[in-house]
Symmetry: C2
């Protein structure tokens, strides 16, 4: 179906923002206050024509010229003068319908809605290609860090071999605070909410969902893989015990919520998990609500990106860069030649043979203080061809920080083991066997380690 | 003058590489071995038609299909089938003439030649615009780190406020080795040459010229400034004394050759200088021959990039990304709308009022071991409103590592002072006055400090 739009004014691109919340107001501010800048970069005026909200009376923290604000989505979709829709209402509905209708009305799209793309990306991108329209979504992953253009354009001469990143700023803020301030999990979540980093309901941030959705989007770009984010094995930071941050620090590591994608024998291994990262490496030194991504390409080697992954102006910066690319025509060229999410492209299987995955592991156990316990555990590890790199075992101390409900008479102490490289399958089996030993109490904590 | 080229084959872009040295051979390898990959990203075949060298018999470390290699530049410039010239001969001449003639023959250009752009960028870019041609040069700055596209495209919604980076990998390798291995300057330069990091004549790398040329190119992009690299105040690492690396380490810093550009009251301050950078910050942890750049935008905040700044395949990765952008048509769009080096654009003045520049400073002096010396020096600093943050003064030690030619009878000892924030003008004057004190011997070492 050809686009119903006819010739546009070549000297001006008219934009409507749908959703004037945190990000929308930031985009409006850049377009209104810095029209000269966007015009210089786009070679034409980028004009804010309309801004759609639900509640016309809510203060927006920005002076909008008269006639811009409306509460009618239909009004902007039906307006033939509008070239680009910036879709900044969160959630799946009506965001999905708005995007489909806007593209059918001949408009290109810029959006920051990662949840929508992770859920309905295939449908939306296929429809865009049928209609000859484009969807730009730099802001949907890692906010101000321009990782989408970097993977799809700047690193296009490479086969990406691996990609790992801190993609959720809220989680990173929480673990950084817990490590540096020795604070507990609950009060730190509260602090993150007070500072505006965490949502009222931070569940999707701290349980790894948000990072998994972003990783799925990046995997489409980097590997041409069709990935359902629900298939990505994921752990959040919501079950992280502060003692692990302290033991990791003693061993020379920090714990980060790492989203990781690796090509192994042509198959893709994806995961989101709290991971020990060696201090002094750029990834370990990512603090506060920052995001970071390390991409390894077969030609370029490792490239590391670090910046603000969320917040009003960093996210608006990415949205407006997309708007400029769309006004210039670069987005459309990229969109035509890359297949992004297009349905029907050969899906790469997600790695299932854990025998192929190899890495080092951190184990923390609560063990009985009997002679021979360490020998037994080391024996189980040895049977799975896992050798021990270092051990921390402290003397018995009453009232340890972890409330595992130690059962009365017997004395249990923490035992921390860092292994040499082993297969994921072996590590998983060995950990299960160890956790079932009579001399081991409660759950065994196991985390991957990255150098 | 309109391009003499007529319609091109839309399904194929024909490329000639002029200069098949380190980078050229890498580009040829990517085009030949990964034609499927480049075709997928470009939406068409990127075809290596010709490769020009001086010496047809030199081994190139790559199997080129028959008929590709030639020693005639004219042959490729006169070939109407060739769409893009990849210009990879170093130096100014004949590189400049080759580019001008190629553009006049209707060809777009991709190059990695930073020296040529720093010297003749204005002329070449103006001519390209007159002829409706494009010049892509991602590989000219920071090799595999895609900083050119990031500044001119991904961060286009921002006014860049400052930019600082480690832009010369050879220098960074040398200072990292000297710091970590406590090695001297001369043997480390030799090691860098053996490892292929440093050229036979590494003068332009270690004296700051190369970094200044790259900074000038980035300043064009980020600030629209017309900067002659010779106007950038610059110090290299060639006069760095190893003792300063050790004192910096004691104070919690590393020394890096930092190229820096800052907008201060609308004026641009540019410099290349060995600089103390606080340990644990991403910039301080850049090792070996890596490059890194930190850009601060008014919307996005700080964005940090880290990767391999040179070498065959990282540089080829940048060249081929440019080739893909040119084949897709993105380069041309960017080139038309951005003014890059175009002559006649308003030049920003380079900051000259050093009173406006502020920062912290590291001073190292060789002082006589008399009581009262520190008081005198502190007095001079106080007169220039410079307060002292920390001091290292060791007891007298015979045969200190620095050969300043201590003059016999009197005992001189090193004195290291770290100041609080002060103006550059005051720091410069105070240092001169201190160096002239009778109790101070030899030159006073002064370096800026970054947090
Ligand atoms: N905030 C960040 O830092 C950040 C970073 C990266 C990506 N994102 C993504 O960007 C998107 C927007 O985030 P945000 O933080 O700006 O959200 P927000 O502050 O909650 O704003 C949402 C806006 O959408 C409007 N809206 C919601 N439903 C609507 C409807 N049916 N019709 C018209 N308007 C409607 C709301 O109007 P009212 O104000 O009238 O209720 C509000 O202005 C989300 O997809 C989010 O995931 C955000
Ligand atoms: N090497 C890096 O890591 C790197 C990184 C970033 C940028 N760059 C830049 O990339 C450019 C190329 O660097 P490189 O390291 O590849 O240089 P290189 O190894 O010295 O190669 C130069 C090539 O140019 C050819 N050549 C020189 N003059 C010629 C002429 N008049 N006619 C035809 N061919 C001629 C040489 O041919 P013969 O082999 O027959 O002599 C050689 O193949 C330079 O501008 C450099 O600054 C290099």
């Amino acid at each position: 179906m050809p686009s119903p739009r006819t010739a546009r004014d070549p000297s001006r691109t008219n934009v409507a923002i749908i959703g004037m919340g945190t990000v929308g107001a930031g985009v409006a501010r850049l377009l209104i206050d810095h029209g000269d800048r966007t015009a210089r970069h786009a070679g034409k005026t980028i004009w804010l024509s309309k801004a759609v909200v639900r509640d016309l009376n809510k203060p927006r923290g920005i002076d909008l010229p008269a006639g811009i604000l409306t509460d009618s989505i239909d009004e902007v979709i039906d307006d033939p003068e509008i070239d680009v829709i910036v879709q900044l209402i969160g959630g799946l509905s009506p965001a999905r319908e708005v995007m489909l209708r806007a593209m059918e009305a001949g408009k290109d799209i810029v959006t920051a809605n990662k949840a929508l793309l992770a859920e309905h990306g295939g449908e939306l991108f296929t429809r865009a290609q049928q209609l000859g329209r484009s969807i730009a979504f730099e802001a949907a992953v890692a906010g101000g860090v321009p990782i989408v253009s970097n993977i799809s354009q700047c690193l296009s001469a490479n086969q990406v071999l691996s990609m790992e990143g801190i993609l959720n700023g809220t989680s990173n803020f929480i673990v950084s605070q817990m490590e540096e301030k020795h604070a507990g999990y609950e009060p730190t979540v509260k602090l993150a909410q007070e500072l505006g980093y965490a949502e009222a309901d931070p569940a999707m941030d701290v349980d790894g969902t948000d990072a998994a959705q972003k990783l799925a989007i990046l995997s489409h770009l980097a590997f041409g893989a069709t990935v359902d984010w629900r298939d990505i094995p994921r752990d959040g930071i919501d079950r992280l015990d502060p003692v692990d941050l302290q033991y990791a620090a003693q061993l020379g590591y920090r714990i980060k919520l790492l989203a990781s994608a690796r090509l192994i024998d042509g198959e893709l291994e994806l995961s989101v998990a709290p991971t020990l990262v060696r201090k002094g490496t750029p990834m370990a030194e990512v603090r506060d609500a920052y995001n970071a991504i390390r991409v390894v390409g077969d030609a370029v080697g490792p490239v590391f990106y670090h910046g603000l992954g969320a917040g009003q102006m960093p996210t608006a910066s990415a949205v407006v860069a997309d708007l400029i690319d769309t006004a210039v025509g670069r987005t459309q060229l990229t969109f035509q030649t890359l297949e992004y999410f297009a349905e029907g492209r050969p899906a790469r299987t997600v790695q299932r043979d854990v025998g192929k995955l190899r890495g080092r592991y951190y184990l923390r156990l609560h063990v009985s203080n009997h002679p021979g316990t360490l020998a037994t555990i080391a024996g189980v590890l040895a049977e799975h061809e896992m050798s021990i790199a270092s051990v921390i075992q402290h003397e018995e101390r009453r009232g340890a920080s972890e409330a595992t409900g130690s059962s009365g008479s017997e004395a249990f102490v923490p035992l921390v083991i860092m292994t040499h490289e082993a297969s994921e399958g072996a590590a998983s089996e060995a950990t299960q066997r160890i956790a079932a030993l009579p001399s081991v109490e409660g759950r065994a904590v196991r985390m991957p380690v990255r150098e």
